[in-house]
Symmetry: C2
Subunit: 389 residues, 2 copies
């Protein structure tokens, strides 16, 4: 099977010509009679323009089929081929990539594996983010953990900005939090995943990830786009990294946010993440704090779930949006809140309680009516953050 890519060009751009430039220039390039004996070899490797369609808005979408033999089965060589040099050719946006099913790296855990680790197969998962993002000590992290873990929180993650800093070195954060996790699990029987942000230059990062797992990290967080897809793939294929990897979308807007340049969010946060071995992928929710189109969100959701990858709509999530999340996602979703848990008026523990109360009381697609909610953490949350949309 070949690799199919849809490129969208603005109205007025010479789509046929540009598509030809891609099909040839991003594969073999030109040749002359000196290489006549290699003709067959070249032809096998050329891209083919298989369709050019004009949209209602006048923009054109060209589809190009690339031979799978041109790339290594990873994301980096794929990106180099489909958009490497051509990305600098002016305008044109990659809006879809269709890969063979077996292309790339499978998640080790994904939806089913994460559910199995948590012993939960019947509801959305609730995830928190340590906040404030910088300036807390490892002991502060443990203090937050002690507030949220006993409330039955499923997952917590570092803020993506929290690197291995003097104020709270990664290994110390893990150690301090792991004690709380173990103690809580002894008491409640409920496991909690802590996705530790793994950072560093590629070689150090991989070594550090192994060490974190060996020291008890039961999940990892990776800023895939600032470190590189090749780093995610290395972790996902590493037998010592036998924990789920949560992929953070930091920097995605730099390559996905523009109308006529780069790649679509669906491609980067959906297709490529899902073929690079992520177990769960964070991305902006359309009812959150970042401007994001519902269509983009749902395209990411579907690309992820097609490969058993957990969708994690994020940014500005609070209990008020739970009914909409249930409408849009059903059960296979991770509800991920930072300040929406940490800044709850009665504290982070109440923030977790508010989410579980919301899950218990929500009807999919039916906004909470404040007057119908009894006093308690959920009501406080709705009073603070509203009832969404």
């Amino acid at each position: 099977m070949s690799i199919e890519v849809d490129y969208r060009f603005p109205a007025g751009a010479h789509a046929e010509k540009l598509a030809k430039v891609i099909a040839v220039g991003q594969t073999v390039g030109s040749w002359d009679e000196r290489w006549a004996e290699r003709e067959a070899s070249f032809r096998e490797r050329l891209g083919q323009v298989t369709a050019i369609q004009t949209q209602d808005d006048g923009r054109n979408v060209a589809t190009i089929a690339f031979p799978e033999a041109n790339v290594e089965g990873d994301i980096a060589s794929l990106l180099t081929m489909i958009f490497g040099k051509f990305s600098m050719a002016g305008v044109g946006k990659v809006i879809a990539v269709r890969l063979p099913l077996d292309y790339g790296t499978q998640p080790k855990f994904g939806i089913s594996g994460i559910r199995s680790m948590l012993g939960l197969d019947d509801r959305p998962l609730v995830m928190a983010i340590f906040k404030p993002a910088l300036g807390l000590s490892a002991a502060d992290h443990a203090k937050i953990m002690a507030a949220v873990a006993p409330q039955g929180l499923d997952i917590i993650k570092d803020d993506e900005i929290m690197a291995n800093l003097d104020s709270a070195p990664t290994m110390e954060r893990l150690k301090a939090c792991r004690e709380v996790i173990d103690r809580t699990q002894d008491q409640t029987g409920k496991p909690l995943l802590y996705a530790v942000n793994v950072t560093g230059r590629a070689d150090e990062l991989i070594t550090k990830a192994r060490k974190l797992v060996a020291q008890g990290a039961n999940a990892l967080l990776l800023n895939v786009l600032t470190y590189g897809f090749s780093v995610l793939e290395a972790l996902a294929r590493d037998p010592e990294i036998n924990v789920p990897i949560f992929a953070h979308p930091a920097l995605a807007g730099a390559m996905c946010g523009a109308p006529n340049h780069g790649l679509s969010y669906r491609v980067v946060l959906g297709t490529l993440m899902a073929h690079a071995g992520a177990d769960a992928v964070l991305y902006p929710a359309h009812y959150g704090s970042l401007p994001f189109e519902p269509a983009a969100e749902f395209a990411i959701r579907d690309a992820l779930r097609d490969r058993n990858v957990f969708p994690v709509p994020s940014a500005g999530i609070h209990p008020g949006i739970v009914p909409m999340a249930l409408r849009d996602y059903g059960q296979d979703v991770i509800l991920n809140a930072g300040t929406g848990i940490m800044d709850h008026p009665q504290g982070a523990g109440a923030g977790v309680q508010a989410f579980f109360a919301a899950l218990a009381q929500a009807q999919p697609g039916q906004k909470f009516v404040l007057e119908n909610i009894g006093d308690g953490p959920l009501r406080s949350a709705l009073e603070k953050w509203g009832v969404g949309e």
Copy 2:
């Protein structure tokens, strides 16, 4: 010293508000009285909006100073901080990043080191690219090498699309070409660098790079943006990788090409590459085949040379542009041609001769006049590709 970043917002955007969102949201975030005892720690880590200037075109540029203590001294944690989540916030482009001098990774070789390897301190270097990009065998590469090496070529590189493919596995290309390089050097005394494209998932890539160097690779090519800055940094800091690293800009347009999103070419191909350990960086020349602004090109050039990194203006380079390249670059430049050497009417060897003839005869900034050029490779090249600009 802090890290200063300039963000440009379109006319009409609320620059002051957005700048504040970045300074706070990309560092500590909000906090309340519960963390009163951490107040000092938070304040130390907040970004500061130090200037907002309105340009003549109505766009606003906000400058934000970030504490260096928030990041790890690498590019990935820097990118996560300065533009990670905010990149998804709508519009806003990073147009300049000013880093402390000692921030990041120094090139092992750079301009002076590459000159020293080649024993050349007094002229621009001439570099070729193997073409066609795909479909040649390792033996074909050796055949091309045998045509160009005896003509005194300084450097040759793989096409960036050429990964480790069955048709010409990387190690076989190296082995076949290395024999020709050694034989030629025995005869002529002149060394030639072959920048081998190193690919793979991050861990494999680093291992492969070490193996390539051990097997005689005297330079490496890396698609930094598709593999990740963290991979470049790992290679640049690896004591076994004691050869220059040529950084290719594949995918740069996806994050730099849009007017109001992403980061400027100067930042990505200049500042960040120069602080990530690249020895030489390729980027589009404004008189080449890609649409590129002279100002962007020269900003990259200066950012690289400030740190002893070799600028390699590329794409559509042929002998006719040599006078302009001398005007714009003087001696510290690598003239990098693919088809501009390989597709010379008298063959690739003549393509190299044409460049050296151009260097011998060119006056900086004075276009060649075809009638003044005697018969030979240079004249054939000028007849085919013109006299530039």
